[in-house]
């Protein structure tokens, strides 16, 4: 399940920011490792919400530091 979400998220991050799919790993920080700025993060969140039918409020987005954080949040809330 988590692997599926990770794979899906990697595709989204690649689409939004051009980061190679293989670089999008659980331990990677969106900001520090993947260079995802706040605007791109909004796009990632939107696409994830659409793909997995979850709602990720802004108050949660700031806690999603790493890709793994996002995978866990989506898995727990979908």
């Amino acid at each position: 399940m988590s692997q599926e979400i990770l794979d899906g998220l990697a595709v989204i991050v690649n689409e939004v920011a051009g980061v190679p799919v293989e670089d999008v790993q659980s331990d990677k920080s969106f900001v520090d490792d993947l260079d995802i700025d706040s605007l791109s993060m909004v796009e990632v969140v939107m696409a994830a919400e659409d793909k997995w039918g979850v709602k990720i409020p802004d108050s949660e987005v700031k806690n999603l530091k790493t890709v793994g954080d996002a995978v866990a949040y989506i898995a727990a809330n979908q």
Partner: protein, 410 residues
């Protein structure tokens, strides 16, 4: 003492070519880039034709850039990369590097797309890039970031004179000492049912839908309005001193600019062409030249019944009997009207005409309007004399903006 400004790089993407070489070859050959718009929405539009970019800029820029940028910004980026590469990517202190890129209407396609999204899916699905896609300074900002400009990033807004006004402002930045190098020009990509309907409502567009390549016909008796085009043109301007110090190839010399306003009507040209004539006079004066030095004019010549005559009157008003010695052309006959991009691509055409001593023909000029008292190039390119020569590029915009630029051969 004002500093001399030279041109060291040119870039463009237009309805007749994806770069300068292909575009210049096409206009010298008199090739029209106008075609029928291939979209279902044209069905109930009065005007169903346009000059669509020959090469989709969204396919040229990186995929992520295409996603984040408006189509007009993509075109500006394509043209900038070509111009910057030709200039040899000058190594310049970023605080001495500027960008001035204009648009007449801003990121209208992105705005309309976003509005569709708003209606279909609600406010939560609006792209975080929408605002920077639609802001009129967006293309300037995108180009400024591309080259790393820190002397200033600006976007002049004067409808169809915007691109020419950008070039004049860029030159002022160098002349006044604010910058050594400025990337400048204009871009527009607003072919959409809303703009086509709006311009058609003004009765400004040609409706020669059954013969698209013949629709834009400046100075011809059969002209019935302009044809919308899209694309971008970018020039790299430098102080002559800076260019010489780095051994840059000089493509042409910026002479000067004249900027006036009609104070006549929001959209119609002053039939006496007074504002335009004053702009031409000021430009020649600003260039330190005399009327006799002008050998060629790339006219605004949009193919509207009134506008072409008003410009003819203005040119004769400014140049007097010397008008008979000047070869005029209307390249919108081939590219269509790029609105905010027009003054930029036509500045480039003017620089190239001086460099190659060749004036592109005005396409579709078959039956010349007797009210046009100009020597218009038609049928084939016309040659220009050897030696030091100068030419004008005219651009006028809804709102009564008149901009004339003078360029000199290198």
């Amino acid at each position: 003492m004002s500093r001399e400004v030279v041109i060291t790089g040119l870039g463009m993407t237009t309805p007749v070519g994806g770069d300068v070489a292909s575009t210049w070859q096409a206009v010298l050959a008199g090739t029209s880039g106008i075609r029928r718009i291939d979209a279902p929405w044209v069905a109930d539009q009065p005007a169903k034709i346009a000059g669509i970019m020959a090469v989709d800029p969204g396919e040229v820029v990186e995929r992520v850039e295409a996603r984040r940028l408006d189509r007009g910004q993509q075109a500006a980026l394509v043209a900038t990369r070509e111009a910057w590469a030709q200039a040899g990517a000058p190594e310049v202190d970023p605080t001495r590097l500027g960008a001035v890129i204009s648009t007449g209407m801003g990121g209208l396609l992105s705005l309309m797309d976003a509005y569709d999204t708003l209606l279909d899916r609600g406010p939560s699905r609006i792209s975080p890039h929408m605002v920077t896609q639609i802001m009129p300074n967006g293309p300037a900002a995108v180009v400024g970031l591309e080259v790393g400009a820190r002397a200033g990033v600006h976007g002049q807004v004067s409808a169809c004179a915007s691109g020419a006004e950008a070039v004049s402002y860029a030159a002022r930045m160098i002349q006044g000492g604010r910058a050594d190098v400025v990337v400048c020009g204009g871009t527009e990509a607003v072919i959409h049912p809303i703009t086509m309907a709006g311009f058609a409502a003004m009765r400004a567009l040609s409706t020669r839908n059954d013969d698209p390549t013949a629709a834009s016909r400046p100075y011809d008796l059969g002209r019935d309005g302009f044809v919308m085009g899209e694309g971008a043109g970018v020039l790299v301007l430098e102080s002559a001193e800076f260019a010489a110090a780095r051994g840059a190839t000089i493509l042409g010399i910026y002479g000067g600019a004249g900027l006036t306003s009609d104070g006549h009507h929001i959209a119609q040209p002053d039939p006496e062409g007074l504002g335009a004539a004053r702009a031409i006079g000021f430009a020649i004066e600003d260039a330190g030249l005399s009327i006799d030095d002008i050998v060629h004019i790339n006219a605004h010549a949009t193919s509207t019944p009134q506008g072409d005559i008003a410009e003819s009157v203005a040119i004769r008003g400014a140049l007097g009997s010397h008008t008979d010695n000047v070869v005029v052309t209307g390249t919108k006959s081939m590219t269509g009207h790029l609105l905010g991009g027009a003054g930029a691509i036509e500045s480039i055409f003017t620089v190239l005409a001086l460099r190659d001593r060749l004036v592109p023909p005005t396409a579709n000029l078959v039956d010349k309007d007797p009210e046009i008292t100009l020597d218009v190039a038609a049928g084939a390119p016309r040659t220009l004399p050897a030696g030091d020569i100068a030419a004008l590029n005219n651009s006028f915009g809804f709102g009564g903006h008149d901009v004339a630029l003078v360029f000199r051969s290198a």
